[in-house]
């Protein structure tokens, strides 16, 4: 299928949904429009609200907060995951001893930690960063662990025969191999960093996109909720797009 046709079909899907939504909330086609728009909001009003947020500039502060929480959670979580992943992969005894605890910690639904983090780190950004870290850490950790364990044996033997010592092996073989696994899970881990930030904000904060949505829900402002969701979706798509570009540059050696 050629690109233009595909793109027009994709746009068509969005248009159909928007038109149906608009008809349902403004005409009597699907029932009482007042009731429907109470539950589903009016698409035009949602659009108006989004535009109003951007025009007045009030949204930038919340976006900035959510973005910085996500970035911090990703960087710190990824760093921890890389360090511990390496450590566990190179020390089988440690990995064996801690195995059940790692599994237990990973099995815990992280949402329940949010109130505890709020208690420990306050309602500012750090409680959200902490929540994001607990999500990102395990993804990166398991990927690095796998990446170090699955270094190709001939590549490793070859590097040894070329004269590499342990430190050089780490730098030229183990680290690139592990990082390739981290990068290939970049979308997932960055996505989880955003989830951690937004859920944290939703459960208790004074700023951010999650806070915006939670505030709107508190006063049955369905338009505000949908506007918040629209901005959040666009935000995540944008982050994902940036990740794709970064991934393409860093994993050029692997090809598509």
């Amino acid at each position: 299928m050629n690109r233009t046709l595909l793109l027009s079909l994709q746009i068509l899907v969005a248009l159909v949904i928007l038109v149906l939504w608009h008809l349902a909330t403004n005409t009597g086609l699907f029932g009482n429009p007042k009731t429907i728009s109470f539950f589903f909001a009016d698409p035009l009003k949602v659009a108006q609200r989004v535009i109003q947020w951007f025009v007045s500039g009030s949204i930038w502060y919340h976006l900035w907060i959510t973005l910085s929480e996500s970035i911090l959670a990703f960087l710190l979580g990824a760093f921890g995951g890389i360090v511990f992943g390496f450590w566990f992969a190179r020390r089988p005894l440690i990995a064996a001893v801690f195995d059940p605890y790692v599994k237990a910690a990973n099995a815990l639904p992280r949402v329940v930690l949010a109130p505890i983090f709020a208690l420990w780190f306050g309602l500012g950004i750090w409680s959200k960063v902490a929540l994001g870290i607990t999500l990102v850490f395990f993804i990166v950790f398991f990927n690095v662990y796998q990446g170090v364990k699955e270094v190709s044996q001939p590549v490793l033997s070859n590097a040894r025969m070329l004269g590499m010592n342990e430190r050089q092996l780490l730098r030229h073989v183990y680290l690139p191999s592990a990082l390739s696994w981290v990068f290939s899970s970049l979308h997932t881990s960055v996505g989880f960093a955003v989830v951690g930030a937004v859920v944290g904000e939703y459960l208790g904060s004074a700023a951010g996109l999650g806070y915006l949505i939670q505030q709107a829900e508190g006063v049955f402002d369905v338009t505000g909720v949908f506007a918040g969701m629209a901005v959040l979706t666009a935000f995540v798509l944008l982050v994902d797009w940036v990740m794709t570009i970064i991934e393409r540059r860093l994993l050029a050696w692997r090809g598509q």
Partner: protein
């Protein structure tokens, strides 16, 4: 005093611990010498422990008993004087061709610019000057072997260990690679241990062909001097009467072993 040998294996026996506490005796007590500047090919049926013997000379595995001496010194850890060309893909896929070739010098303390300059020269010698900035996955199997050759030779090892290096390549590419190897080798005639299951390849390349018996407990059952003139042209040499006579002699010795190995492997699967 006798000249110092590049490799001297004395009564080397190698076993592997298998699951269930059984032991697999791969190689029985074996003596093998490779002189400096000598090209020795080791031929044997599949699974006869040729590569195992090579890995013992590389220091990648330690023999159960016996001693390994490299240029007169007992080998205690990894063999630092040897370059090893593996059968499988062993280039670092995350490094470009140039980086892969230069790395051996860089890690030994040569400055990056000098190492890369030298790497470019080596790439030119193996005919890949135009591919310096590609990644290994973008190359064909034969091209990757050329890079591997440059990667190993740039360190100028005194001993070259080769484990069926051209095994995965197609017949034509193998001929070309063989010629390239001989051309590079003839410049300074390093000692070479070349493992292969291809008798033609062994005779065409080597000064001496060593035959190993089928495993387990494989041992050396034949040792043939190759009296063919150098420089050799691998494609042509197969029509030489000396080549054919030697091929017949060696095949006679090898055939029974191949059959034994074949019976054993088919017996296991039955």
């Amino acid at each position: 005093m006798e000249a110092v040998r590049a490799v001297s294996l004395k009564q080397v026996a190698i076993s592997f611990e298998m699951a269930g506490k059984t032991r697999f005796d791969a190689v029985a007590a074996t003596d093998l010498n490779v002189d400096a500047h000598e090209f020795v090919a080791i031929v044997g049926p599949t699974g006869c422990g040729k590569s195992t013997l090579l890995n013992a000379a590389a220091g990648l595995l330690t023999p159960m008993s016996g001693t390994v001496e490299i240029f007169g010194q007992p080998l205690k850890s990894l063999n630092r004087q040897a370059g090893y060309l593996f059968q499988q893909d062993s280039l670092m896929p995350w490094k470009t061709v140039l980086e892969n070739v230069a790395i051996g010098l860089e890690i030994s303390g040569v400055s990056q610019s000098d190492a890369r300059k030298s790497a470019r020269e080596w790439l030119a010698r193996v005919g890949l000057a135009a591919f310096a900035d590609r990644f290994p996955r973008m190359l064909s199997g034969g091209q990757r072997k050329r890079v591997g050759l440059a990667q190993v030779l740039i360190r100028n090892p005194k001993l070259l260990l080769m484990d069926e290096p051209f095994g995965p390549l197609d017949a034509q590419t193998r001929l070309i690679m063989g010629d390239l190897l001989l051309k590079l080798w003839s410049e300074d005639r390093k000692a070479v241990m070349f493992v292969t299951h291809d008798l033609d390849e062994a005779i065409a390349l080597a000064d001496r062909v060593v035959i190993m018996s089928a495993g387990p407990k494989s041992r050396i059952i034949g040792d043939f001097k190759v009296r063919l003139e150098r420089p050799r042209e691998i494609g042509e040499i197969r029509h030489d009467p000396v080549f054919n006579q030697l091929h017949r002699d060696i095949w006679q010795a090898l055939r029974d072993e191949v059959m034994t190995a074949y019976r054993q492997s088919s017996g296991e699967t039955a």
